[in-house]
């Protein structure tokens, strides 16, 4: 059997995925489903996409050998620098792709949800670039804790609409965006920011993010003489930066895949977003996947210090990778992430996003061999999180090394 961890023709990764959507969304989602591969494969689309990624986003993003971290952790540790992209995170790879797609589909209005604000900023940016109206839904809790990104979106000309229902975070912003799409089915395209939602979104977003692992292949070939690493480490909210950095290695079994999940104040604290550990199979935002829920199927409000990981579900690709044992998950608490952020900053002079910091904590948790090649995906930079980091400036650091 030709085993693969990619999506199948029915829109599933193993048992996960599909499109569990109300009829009001069907026509739009179906149009996307039937056209996305064809549109993306067009030469003119590829030309524009590649040109924008190079000249506007600043790709390829460097693959940097972190000497001090390598020494500290006893392996060759490379950093894939998505933090250096225009707007400061991997999110823009996807929004460039989707805005071009929206134009092909003749859409005149863009909506998006955002947690940390990185996807909102990336969407507002491409809308400014293309001169398209942009509305970003953001939980009112996140609006408060990610203020710099709210200002950026506004300066870019987007309207930021607060989501006031539920936990007032990413899941609720997603609900509001979906409702907007139901109310505006004809002129509007919904740019989802992660590998979540109904098919074809998880696959489409993964495809746009797959440029990360595409570059890793030739960058590793150049630097190491082989095109695959032994480990890839990424944080997972919905899972788009992880999906992008895993994509071309999904079926390369020599590469071990590790996901850092936000454990918040601790797995058993009742304040966590560790979906793969606390969750069970069900449906969230139109996708059959793992999610945190009560026995009655009510979705549980998650918690993480990091707004971008504060989501009660996980993309269906990852649910399958985890269930099949292809990817391993390590839960990382708020404080472990903070320590990892200071560690990276002091060792390498790179201030990561809080989301990304979760991935770095995993370096403490894996027993590497000296010759192992490890890639940590630096999904974003920490400018937006400075007000959080500042609170921990006087904490004794380096507690994370044993």
């Amino acid at each position: 059997m030709n085993e693969t961890y990619h999506i199948n023709e029915s829109g599933y990764y193993g048992a996960f995925g599909g499109a569990f959507i109300p009829e009001m969304l069907y026509a739009n989602v179906e149009r996307l489903r039937s056209q996305y591969l064809e549109i993306i494969a067009k030469e003119s689309f590829q030309e524009q996409f590649t040109e924008l990624l190079i000249d506007y986003v600043g790709r390829p993003s460097p693959l940097y050998l972190a000497h001090k971290l390598s020494k500290k952790y006893g392996a060759k540790i490379y950093l894939k620098r998505e933090d250096l992209n225009h707007t400061g995170a991997h999110k823009i790879n996807n929004t460039i792709g989707q805005i071009l797609l929206a134009k092909e589909l003749g859409k005149k209005r863009i909506i998006a949800e955002t947690g940390a604000g990185q996807h909102g900023v990336a969407t507002a940016t491409v809308c400014a670039l293309m001169g398209i109206e942009c509305i970003v839904y953001m939980g009112s809790v996140d609006i408060e804790r990610q203020a710099p990104n709210v200002s950026r979106m506004k300066m870019l000309g987007a309207e930021v609409r607060p989501a006031e229902s539920g936990s007032k975070t990413l899941k609720d912003a997603t609900n509001e965006a979906i409702r907007d799409w139901i109310n505006n089915p004809v002129d509007t395209h919904y740019i989802i920011g992660s590998v979540v939602g109904p098919h074809p979104y998880p696959d489409m977003v993964a495809l746009f993010q797959s440029v990360i692992s595409e570059e890793m292949k030739w960058q590793l070939q150049e630097k190491e003489g082989r095109d695959y690493p032994d480990y890839i480490l990424a944080c997972v909210g919905g899972g788009s930066n992880a999906a992008g950095s895993f994509y071309h290695y999904l079926d390369e079994l020599r590469t071990k895949l590790y996901l850092a999940e936000a454990a918040g104040k601790g797995i058993d604290s009742g304040h966590s977003a560790a979906t793969s550990i606390l969750g069970s199979e069900g449906i969230i935002h139109g996708s059959r996947t793992m999610l945190m829920q009560t026995p009655d199927g009510q979705i549980i409000e998650p918690y993480s210090i990091s707004a971008g990981l504060d989501y009660p579900g996980i993309g269906p690709m990852h649910a399958n990778l985890i269930k099949q044992g292809r990817a391993k998950v390590i839960p990382v608490t708020d404080i472990e992430a903070i320590d990892a952020a200071f560690d990276l900053t002091r060792e390498e002079g790179i201030i990561p996003a809080l989301e990304t910091a979760h991935a770095f904590h995993m370096l403490n948790k894996i027993d590497f061999r000296k010759e192992d090649i490890v890639v940590v995906n630096v999904s974003g930079r920490g400018d937006k999180d400075l007000s959080t980091y500042i609170k921990y400036l006087n904490r004794p650091h380096n507690v994370s090394d044993e």
Partner: protein
């Protein structure tokens, strides 16, 4: 034959279906509210199973669901309430929830409980037709449970036919326009053309028009283009404002029917 099928063989016009959320405004309110609705002349009741993330619903229904969950509403309680209602009323009852709720409960158990306690049909707006057909249709039919699928102005002719066929033991749920529940405006010519098209495509399946129906005028216009109509958010707003005593409920229904 379930109670919905029996109703439509007996009555074909001006069918009034009232939606509200179980557990709202008080935990056990559904038992008396449904009985009063029956006495006041409503034809069908749709009991919403409150959900944390009701994607297809607007703010009025979501807020009522949030309150119901705060009141302690659960799926087991809902089945108990349906059973109690059945000792007082034979009004057709449709349970409306989201597919995840049924999945977590266990689909067979859920259907067993629904059927044995006296529900007649289900509405699961996010359960796709093909998944229903391949995995669940026979389970529904074994228990004489109907299901209502939704159609919108964007639904293709071919899908309308399928939805109508699969909904034949209940009714086809016609969404009056592109919107979530709860928006109130009048019915336009474009909508009327759409209703007329549906009338032809749906064959023998009864149909009710929902979303945005909020008063006598919109009820009558909608009823002229289908077997009747569904009122949800407007009734929930009424319950919030005027309470769930019998007087309040009969005055709401009188306002629509008289």
């Amino acid at each position: 034959m379930n109670r919905i099928e029996a109703l439509f063989t007996r009555k074909k016009k001006n069918i009034l279906n009232i939606y509200f959320t179980a557990g709202f405004p008080e935990l056990d309110a559904a038992v008396s509210v449904v009985t009063y609705l029956d006495q006041a002349g409503a034809d069908i009741v749709e009991l919403g199973i409150p959900y944390s993330d009701p994607l297809a619903d607007g703010p009025t229904i979501q807020e009522s669901g949030t309150l119901a969950l705060k009141n302690g509403m659960t799926i087991d309680l809902l089945f108990q309430q349906v059973k109690k209602i059945r000792s007082q009323s034979e009004i057709p009852i449709v349970l409306m929830g989201y597919f995840n709720q049924m999945l977590q409960y266990g689909v067979e158990d859920f259907l067993d409980q629904a059927a044995s306690n006296g529900a007649d049909a289900l509405i699961m707006p996010d359960l796709p037709m093909d998944v229903y057909k391949s995995d669940y249709q026979s389970m529904f039919e074994e228990r004489s449970l109907g299901i209502s699928f939704l159609v919108t102005p964007q639904t293709s002719d071919e899908r309308i036919k399928r939805a109508a066929e699969l909904s034949k033991n209940s009714f086809l749920y016609i969404i009056s326009k592109s919107s979530i529940t709860g928006s109130a405006s009048n019915i336009s010519q474009v909508q009327i053309d759409y209703f007329n098209k549906l009338e032809k495509l749906k064959a023998d399946t009864p149909s009710l028009i929902g979303f945005g129906i909020h008063n006598k005028e919109t009820f009558l216009t909608a009823s002229a283009h289908a077997n009747g109509a569904i009122i949800g958010s407007a009734f929930i707003r009424h319950l919030s404002k005027y309470g769930f005593e019998q007087d309040s409920i009969s005055s709401f229904i009188d306002g629509i029917l008289k």
